[in-house]
């Protein structure tokens, strides 16, 4: 079976959906951050696949930018997690309850 662009795009869509479900249903803040990363990597997969199949390197260059932004986001996210940990002593999302949704 020939692997086409559609397969990559579908795989990326499935990964993205798994990430969305993770953010919405998981209770641990670290797992939620990991799910966000999964979403971003699904996007990266889309960009790389499109770059490969259109022989246009733009898509690959974009991926570097996205990875860079994702790294910065995680760094800030972990710093804020530590701040919450010091106040609450837990990473559970239900401990973040002073501000009701």
């Amino acid at each position: 079976m020939q692997i086409e662009l559609t397969h990559y795009l579908l795989l990326a869509a499935v990964l993205f959906s798994i990430g969305v479900m993770g953010v919405l249903t998981r209770k641990n803040l670290i797992v939620i951050l990991m799910s966000v990363e999964l979403m971003l990597n699904a996007v990266n997969l889309t960009f790389v696949a499109v770059a490969r199949y259109t022989a246009d390197l733009t898509g690959q260059v974009i991926v570097f930018f996205v990875m860079c932004v994702a790294a910065a986001e995680v760094a800030v996210g972990l710093a804020i997690l530590i701040s919450i940990w010091r106040h609450r002593g837990t990473m559970h999302i239900d401990s973040v309850k002073l501000l009701k949704w």
Binding site: L5, L9, F16, G19, V20, V23, L29, I32, L33, V36, M39, L40, A42, V43, T46, F47, V50, T54, D56, T58, G59, I62, F65, V66, V69, A72, E73, V76, G77, A79, I80, L81, S83, I84, H87, R88, V96, L98, L99, K100, W101
Partner: protein
């Protein structure tokens, strides 16, 4: 490799100045080891003022620089000036607030500068990747600012909530960008515009890309039903930061909306204007109705910020040059009045940090005339009472909508303004109609009073001479 010319550098001169100022602030903080006194705010204000001057200097230019990825036009210049004004006002309010809350953070000012830089990039982006990078630069600075009051659990929680939902929504936006890239093959607004202007086939990839892009934007401007993060984050963040992030990022997101949906995607408006209409109606109504029920003034203003995003969306749906000029006018007015209102609240809050109860405002209008008058101006402008800027902003936006036949939107908007009048005027009633509870001494630093008076005066000036500002923006609209 494409060489960078002097024209390119000149096109991003304001951004360059802001980044240099941010680095200077970080260096100054490191060298003085936290004993910097007024040095950091002064440096930041000077840097922002220089950037604003550079943006005014660039006013007459048009076209794009950096190989068509950055706009160097009047519309970008106008918003760059607005962002520097927002930044300067925020910084003038900050030293006092940082002192009373005991936050010692030199990075605070540097982060405000980097956030302003991100907004500027968003306003001048001519490419979806540039837009994403500007958005993230702004957002990541704001996540840290929201959580910067480390001693306060509420601030940490606000930072966390903002980060998770901000990153979540950015991922949606980025996935939308990726799908558009897959179906169009370019991220330049110009190429996207010509693609949609030609006879295109709205395939599943393209439509889902547009939908995801819209969800991402709706999150960023806090449009209902993607608004649930904003009241919590606005409530928990340090109040100066709340004022900053309810005005600047909103303005930046709306410039991007105008450039992407209003201009590049305009030929395909049948695909998205219906959804945006529903979003606008929901946003206006839910924001106003929920604001009535709040017991904290800060939270009430957070919901009112949602309602104002709804009015601004009406301008995007209307989709004409006049409507975009009206949106620009409204964004300027909104920035001044919302920042000012949060700033007065900081001074009037007398109980423990972060409660901002309505009772605190009882009779303060007579006890502290300056605060009473300025807060009244801000609230009247938020209500939309002439001759304040808020009135003309609403007038221009709704008349642009009516011209395009969006009667329902205009009617819903007017009804909502009436609902808004109830909770804004309730605060003014409290200020003047009730007796104060005991004596109160409120420290009002000179810079603080200056910034309050300037904001209130600007609201009145652009409210009394609205045509002039509107003409300036109309000249610049893309």
């Amino acid at each position: 490799m494409i060489p960078v010319s002097l024209t390119d550098i000149q096109g991003v001169l304001p951004e360059t100045i802001v980044v240099i100022a941010a680095l200077a602030v970080i260096m100054a903080d490191a060298i003085r080891r936290g004993h910097s006194g007024a040095l950091l705010p002064v440096l930041s204000v000077l840097g922002l003022a220089a950037a604003g001057a550079a943006a005014i200097f660039l006013w007459g230019t048009s076209g794009t620089v950096f190989n068509g990825t950055v706009f160097a036009d009047g519309f970008a210049s106008f918003f760059k000036v607005l962002f520097t004004v927002i930044g300067i006002l925020t910084i003038l309010f900050s030293p006092h607030y940082l002192k009373i809350t005991g936050v010692r953070l030199g990075e605070y000012y540097a982060l405000i500068l980097t956030a302003v830089f991100g907004m500027m990039v968003m306003a001048s982006a001519a490419n979806l990747l540039m837009l994403y990078l500007g958005l993230e630069t702004m957002s990541i600075s704001l996540y840290v600012l929201a959580g910067s009051q480390r001693g306060d659990v509420k601030s940490a929680e606000a930072g966390m909530k903002y980060l998770v939902l901000g990153a979540f929504s950015s991922a949606f936006l980025l996935y939308g960008i990726a799908l558009l890239f897959a179906s169009i093959g370019s991220l330049d607004y110009e190429v996207i515009g010509t693609f949609f202007a030609s006879d295109f086939h709205p395939g599943p990839l393209l439509v889902s890309g547009l939908a995801l892009l819209m969800v991402g934007f709706a999150f960023k401007v806090a449009a209902v039903p993607f608004h649930f993060w904003s009241p919590d984050v606005y409530d928990g963040a340090p109040t100066t930061v709340t004022g900053f992030m309810s005005t600047g990022p909103k303005a930046a997101a709306f410039v991007a909306l105008i450039r992407v949906f209003g201009v590049a995607l305009a030929p395909a408006s049948s695909l998205w204007s219906g959804v945006l209409t529903v979003l606008a109606i929901l946003t206006m109504t839910v924001g106003n109705v929920v604001a009535i029920r709040q017991t904290s003034v800060k939270r009430m203003l957070a919901y009112s910020a949602i309602a104002h995003a709804g009015y601004l969306l009406v301008g995007i749906v209307a989709g004409t040059k006049a409507a975009f000029a009206a949106t620009g006018y409204y964004l300027s007015a909104y920035a001044l009045m919302n920042l000012g209102a949060f700033a007065v609240l900081i001074l009037l809050n007398r109980r423990d940090e972060g409660s901002y109860r309505f009772e605190d405002l009882r009779g303060m209008g007579f006890a502290h005339p300056l605060l009473g008058i300025t807060l009244s101006v801000f609230l009247l402008s938020l209500t939309g009472v002439p001759p304040t800027a808020g009135f003309f902003g609403k007038l221009y936006i709704f008349s642009a909508a009516v011209e395009q036949g969006h009667i329902v939107l205009a009617v819903v908007g007017l009804l909502n303004s009436a609902v808004g009048a109830y909770y804004y005027l309730r605060v003014i009633t409290l200020l003047y109609m009730a007796k104060p509870e005991g004596e109160s001494i409120i420290v009002q630093p000179a810079a603080y009073r200056f910034a309050l008076v300037i904001s209130a005066l600007l609201i009145l000036v652009i409210g009394i001479f609205p045509e002039q500002l509107l003409r300036v923006i109309t000249l610049a609209v893309p």
